[in-house]
């Protein structure tokens, strides 16, 4: 309940600054352009694959690459959204308002998280509108599209949790942004080492799990991976914030 109050203010504040609007706008333009390029490609390809048996459908050729690109672009953008969550309150000394109110640390973190996650959900909805617009002229594989949307939501849930933790860690928003970006990018490419390190790094890679969900394979492994990932960073954030109170 109290988490929702904090989340509400967080979301409100995001929209009071031009940052949220410009991020929504820029992302929509770039992804819209990519979507149209993909559509062109499909139209070009359509004649060639028409006769094929088991040919990739419109969802495979347009929606899946779109969501793949969205993942990469949001990896760059999420740090900008999450950087201010806690570090700015700490800088402006407004954290004591939350600390003095009858609210627990968990509620503070959860509220902050829900606020930024709510914003990311708006973004996902706007991205999902693009493939849905194809319904005007043809059919879509709704199951696959649902898998893509789920994948993006889970991915962003993880991104936001890392961003929140970094923001709880850093004393300045920009440092939180750089930290989040670095951590996310590292986790994205961590399996580039090849086979030498075995399966662990591969399991840790955000990209692997994201791609496997995008293919339409909603497996428990991937779901659990993202949920654990998010939860871990949320718990770490609670502990980090509690450290402000304990400061040795």
């Amino acid at each position: 309940m109290m988490a929702l109050v904090i989340a509400g203010r967080e979301l409100r504040t995001l929209f009071l600054s031009p940052l949220a609007w410009s991020i929504l706008g820029v992302i929509q333009i770039i992804l819209g352009y990519m979507f149209l390029a993909q559509l062109d490609y499909y139209v070009m390809l359509q004649a060639r694959i028409a006769g094929m048996e088991d040919a990739p459908g419109i969802t495979d050729l347009i929606a899946v690459p779109l969501f793949g690109n969205a993942g990469v672009i949001l990896l760059l953008v999420t740090p900008l959204l999450t950087m201010r969550l806690i570090s700015e309150e700490r800088r402006n000394r407004t954290l004591s308002l939350l600390f003095t109110a009858p609210v627990s640390m968990t509620e503070i973190i959860f509220g902050k998280y829900l606020g930024v996650f709510g914003f990311l959900l708006i973004m996902v909805a706007m991205i999902a509108l693009m493939p849905l617009s194809l319904l005007a002229g043809g059919g879509l594989d709704m199951g696959k599209l649902a898998a893509c949307v789920t994948a993006l939501i889970l991915l962003l849930a993880g991104f936001a949790a890392v961003g929140l933790y970094m923001s709880a860690l850093a004393s300045q928003p920009t440092i939180a942004a750089i930290g989040t970006f670095g951590a996310l990018l590292l986790l994205w490419i961590i399996d580039w080492t090849g086979n030498s390190a075995g399966g662990v790094l591969e399991y840790l890679s955000l990209l692997r799990h994201y791609e496997s969900l995008l293919k339409g394979l909603v497996s428990t492994t991937d779901l659990v991976y993202f949920l654990l990932f998010t939860l871990t960073f949320l718990v770490l954030s609670v502990h980090r914030l509690d450290n402000d109170r304990l400061q040795k």
Binding site: L16, R93, T100, A101, S104, R245, Q247
Partner: protein
């Protein structure tokens, strides 16, 4: 009377540095406690601990009988806190901000508008409700901070230097407000401004190097401030031996030009008999003034001499 705050054997270490050292005190309803101390004495640390913004190394804090460490959520319901820097969101308007604070403190939805109105009214914010806090002057931001602290009418209000950055008229208004609030709530007020304490507080505590060095009612302090010396000026040389014979006189300093400072017992004021002696012996009494120690002198006395005594003791 109910004890609103009970602090017992509070310690706080930052690494090896002991910021708050064995502080024990209580605050009762209707009291306004002035919390004094030089910079870095541990005032803010103590206040932060009472408000649950900082965990004590050891010790106990009870707010209205509720343990702050075991049961922080319940205890914090009874608290209003204005930190040194008012915790305001610059991008919100005053109304939006107070609305958010009210929700954070779980004021029921139907009571929220009236609570906001009365807090704004008390802090003189009625005209600026629609304005962005970031565009307000420092004094108004400070008032918003105070409004936030009294919004949910907590039983304990803790104000860390509430009059910093205000103009003299505002300071007077805020002092008035504090006195008024003190009737129904318990208030702790930290400040550097000594007359402020004399004017608004009912009790004074001085903290120095983490230790409470004075805890007295304002009447007790006045007692301390009362003269323990008189200044005498005469036309003729006064006979010091005759003066020493007056009951209660300890010591006489000759200030030159027939002026004398006469130190005496606190409870025996010898002025009357000195005057009698001066008149009967024909010295030509020109001046007889009891001297008062200012609050400032007491403050400096306590904060500068106590550690020396401690070192000697150790």
């Amino acid at each position: 009377m109910t004890q609103l705050i009970q602090v017992e054997q509070l310690f706080r270490y930052y690494g090896d540095h002991c910021a708050v050292n064995n502080v024990t005190f209580t605050l009762e309803k209707g009291e306004i406690l002035g919390f004094l101390g030089p910079n870095g004495a541990g005032k803010s640390s103590t206040m932060q601990m009472i408000c649950g913004n900082l965990a004590p190394t050891s010790g106990q804090i009870l707010i209205n009988g509720i343990d702050m460490l075991d049961n922080p959520k319940e205890a914090k319901r009874e608290l209003g806190y204005l930190p040194e820097i008012p915790p305001v969101y610059r991008e919100l308007t005053v109304d939006e901000y107070l609305n958010y604070c009210g929700k954070l403190h779980q004021i029921p939805r139907e009571k929220l508008p009236s609570a906001i109105d009365s807090a704004k009214d008390r802090c003189g914010l009625t005209d600026v409700g629609e304005r962005l806090i970031g565009n307000l002057s420092k004094g108004y931001q400070q008032r918003v901070g105070i409004a936030q602290a009294i919004l949910h009418s907590p039983s304990v209000i803790i104000l860390d230097e509430p009059t910093v950055g205000l103009d003299p008229i505002q300071i007077r208004e805020i002092r008035e407000l504090i006195r008024e609030l003190g009737k129904e709530h318990g208030i702790i007020l930290s400040t550097h401004i000594l007359p402020e304490v004399q004017e608004s507080c009912t009790r004074v505590q001085i903290i120095h190097k983490g230790k409470l060095v004075l805890n007295d009612s304002i009447e007790g302090l006045e007692q301390q401030m009362r003269a323990s010396s008189v200044v005498l000026e005469t036309r003729q040389e006064a006979d010091l031996m005759k003066l020493y014979a007056v009951d209660g006189v300890h010591k006489i300093d000759d200030l030159g030009e027939r002026r004398y400072r006469i130190f005496h017992d606190k409870d025996k004021n010898p002025a009357e008999r000195i005057a009698e002696a001066a008149v009967s012996l024909g010295w030509g009494l020109l001046e007889l003034t009891p001297e008062r120690r200012s609050m400032e002198e007491i403050f400096i006395d306590i904060t500068q001499h106590t550690p020396v005594m401690e070192e000697q003791a150790a």
